[in-house]
Amino acid sequence: MQPSELRQTAPAKKKLARRLNEQKYLLLMLSPAVIWALCFCYLPMVGIYMAFVNYQPSLGDFWHHLFHAEFVGVDWFEYFFRNGDFVRIMRNTIASTLLTLLFSFPAPIIIAIAVNEVKNGLFRRSVQTVSYLPHFISWVIAANIVVTVLSSDGVVNSLLKFLHLTDASVLFLQEGKYFWWIVAFANTWKDMGYSSIIYLAAISSINGDLYEAAKVDGAGRFKQIRYITLPHLKPTIVILLILSLGGILNAGFDQHFLLGNGLVQDYSDVLSTYSFRYGLQNSMFSYASAVGVFNSVVAFMLIVVVNFASKKLNNQSLF
């Protein structure tokens, strides 16, 4: 959000009333967005107060009941930290994001480099087109696909049996120990092609002369990748890695909710699905919002820290 050089005309010091009159249409055009943000972003932030009271779901006005409910301070937070679920939920959240990062972070880099080395235009375009596709389907469809290929007579099991790696079908979605891996692979499958676009853009800005010079010096393709492509990608890689660390608590509601089931709940429950379950399914509204507040606050602090780090390292920042 750098100030545009073009628009740097300093606002003349005019009377506020006159400026308001001059800009009435601009303000009018901004008003739907302001109303939207107040209703759907800032009102829920006021609603966070719910986490500090003992809100009883009852008929009638939400705000009235909220502000007349018994104030309990941080009791709900304490309850969350003490009741044993905290450790399990945090373990699942962090394990799932870290495992996802392990696969989904290098994959687009490798794909971008590989695609860049392809000279055949048609092949290159086909691979790119198809690999972007999963990004645009919903997680509902993706979950249906995952469930299908991993089912007991699905493709993966057939392949495992064909290769004699297993005799009986592996029930992937019914055993907790596989769950984080499934989510990690599903995340990678869905977004690896699409994420490679950023790296391809970075590669395309590398000066072609460097490759020519390397060729003259006798560097093979591997050496060209190692000494030219990768070093040029490094700044992009570093900033994207830092940014993804900011999302470590954001394990993704959709995939955990849609792929999880009662049998694997001990491994599939993450902060967002846990809050959903207690709030909207068990009606423990105050407890669930306390869990949500914990999630938002820690995630926000992470983003601030990460943004600071990226400012220091790359001189780039989000805000």
Partner: protein, 297 residues
């Protein structure tokens, strides 16, 4: 010397092509597999082993969907929210972006931070649900339109684009006595068509794919979107209900035996097909969109 390099380059190319072919298969095949199972006769599908081609080809699963009023209703809701929600969002976002592109706007810095903050901090699921409820949006079609009306990130894309437009046209219109509203409608909007098309695609796909709002904010069956119905089918399939939603739908046709599995595949395909169909035409825009986003942040 030269031979050696050519050889290692050949090996490199071979492995590179094989690797990318594997990427192609891994991303493409799951879609193909769903299509194959959805086009196979349901009773025959139970035998398994359907990988490359349907054994007993039939459109019966699809016919069942189109005979089913609940599913057709959900398709209607999804189409309606996409067709109505997309232009409304594009309009609201572009008006907002135009206003915020004027740095001389009163309290410009305040407004900017006011919106940026919402990108990084929110009330969370439960307070949001309560607010939606207290606004009377539960079980209302408008719950699909209003809460997601603005995308602050998309606004930044549009604003950046507007800031890159040459300012002279606007200035001369101003001298001719046009107000900001007229300038916006007659000059800025037409010039912004490329970026607006890009965000319209993002928003449209978002509407088509949305399930969460329908799943949690609506209870009436006639307000369920296609994806929300698919979630219901998936949930029941996962928990292994004796008579799943898909089987109920299958049995309601009562004509030819259709299994829950093949209905699940067919609904998945119906929900995916529009994306696959528009996708080749709009792919360029998506790429442009993410590039613009990448440059910005």
């Amino acid at each position: 010397m030269l031979r050696r390099f050519t050889d290692s380059d050949t090996w490199f190319d071979l492995f590179n092509y094989l690797f990318l072919a594997a990427v192609f298969v891994v991303t493409f095949y799951p879609f193909w597999n769903i299509l194959v199972i959805s086009l196979n006769d349901a009773t025959d599908s139970v035998r398994g082993g359907l990988y490359l081609w349907p054994r007993v080809f039939t459109f019966e699963s699809y016919a069942t969907i189109f005979r089913n009023t609940e599913l057709m209703g959900s398709i209607k809701v999804t189409v309606l929210r996409t067709l109505l929600g997309t232009p409304l969002s594009v309009l609201a976002i572009s008006m907002m972006a135009y206003s915020l592109s004027k740095r001389e706007l009163v309290a410009w810095r305040f407004f900017t931070l006011f919106f940026i903050f919402t990108m990084y901090f929110g009330g969370g699921l439960i307070p949001t649900y309560m607010v939606i409820k207290s606004l009377g949006l539960i079980d209302s079609f408008w719950v699909f339109i209003f809460p997601g009306l603005i995308g602050v990130f998309l606004m930044i894309l549009v604003r950046t684009y507007i800031e890159g437009l040459p300012g002279e046209v606007e200035e001369s219109a101003k001298i001719d006595g046009a107000n900001d509203l007229q300038i916006f409608v007659r000059i800025v909007l037409p010039l912004c068509i490329p970026v607006l098309a890009t965000i319209a695609l993002f928003i449209g796909i978002g509407h088509w794919n949305a399930w969460y709002d329908s799943y949690i904010y609506t209870y009436k069956p006639e307000l369920k979107t296609l994806q929300a119905v698919l979630v219901k089918i998936l949930n029941q399939f996962q928990t292994g209900d004796m008579v799943s939603e898909a089987e109920k739908l299958a049995n309601s046709s009562k004509r030819i035996p259709v299994s829950g599995e093949s209905i699940r595949m067919a609904v998945t395909m119906v929900a995916t097909l529009p994306i696959i169909m528009v996708y080749p035409f709009v792919q360029r825009y998506f790429v442009k969109g993410i590039m613009m986003g990448a440059i910005k942040s």
